[in-house]
Symmetry: D3
Subunit: 68 residues, 6 copies
């Protein structure tokens, strides 16, 4: 009965992509650990860019720096 929490930045992830993530993770747990999909939960959190930090700064600032 695994529980998986996926946190990604909030940038227009579509309903279809979410369904693919849910399916993919559930299959993976069944294949690797023989876990029953019926008791596998997946929760996706979408985090606003200004709430996600990397390298000591918010993600949008980080990206500007990387691409400059």
């Amino acid at each position: 009965m695994p529980f998986v929490n996926i946190k990604v930045t909030n940038e227009g992830v579509t309903k279809e992509q979410k369904a693919q993530l849910i399916k993919g993770v559930t299959d993976l747990l069944q294949n690797v650990l023989n876990k029953d999909p019926q008791t596998t939960f997946v929760v996706i959190d979408e985090v606003d860019l200004e709430n996600w930090g990397i390298a000591g700064m918010p993600t949008d600032e980080y990206r500007k720096l990387k691409s400059s």
Copy 2:
């Protein structure tokens, strides 16, 4: 000083129901483990149906399948 995180699907949980969950969990921790309510935190996360997966699919799809 317990910390409790409750994740439920986002389907119109009322303010009163949230207060009942908070009260119930806090009482439980006091009764079972003698924890001080003053330092018991409860955080409720409401998760959109398309962000919650079970049985390899989003919750709304899963429910349709179960009820069909």
Copy 3:
């Protein structure tokens, strides 16, 4: 299909007390939100005292201060 995570300090919580917490939280979610116990997960984390901080210090230090 709720998911509940309970974090408490690691101080000899017995197997029976854990069972009471699991039962109590599951009942609460059924009573307040009509959630199906079959798809209610509860995960208990026991956290060592030196890994839990309150008021800017580890819990054991905090307790000494409070009781002195």
Copy 4:
């Protein structure tokens, strides 16, 4: 490669304050544990007052009680 999750009540935290939290936590992990900022993630969750419980009640109720 630390991962830090900060949960605070949702009360108008500004973008600048979030940047200060991200910077401060990342610096702290570099200073205390010599962690590389490039692989330090910080995620800030803003939790509505009615979803955060303390002392067995939602935060807004708790504050009224404290200030009364």
Copy 5:
């Protein structure tokens, strides 16, 4: 820069299986959302059976009931 937390019961997951989970989830996020593996973190938590509840009881009790 996704962060994924996988919680499974603590039942002898091997180092190789953990590596497969990490690889599988990272590939999935690259394929579905084009996320850079260099900034994809995966953390696996192994939870003791008595600390994981389902259907209102600890997992070991639940399994006995299901198989009886």
Copy 6:
């Protein structure tokens, strides 16, 4: 009443370093958001190297690759 969860790899973090992390994060939240230390919780999780993945592989493998 913030709650902060710090996840780091399990590599001999000392009790003193943990105290510094707790103190540092609590001070930060007081300075930036005026949060009361009395109701600021910090929980540190130490994660085994084989349970932490980055770039699609466990941390120890990743480090060998980086240093080779």
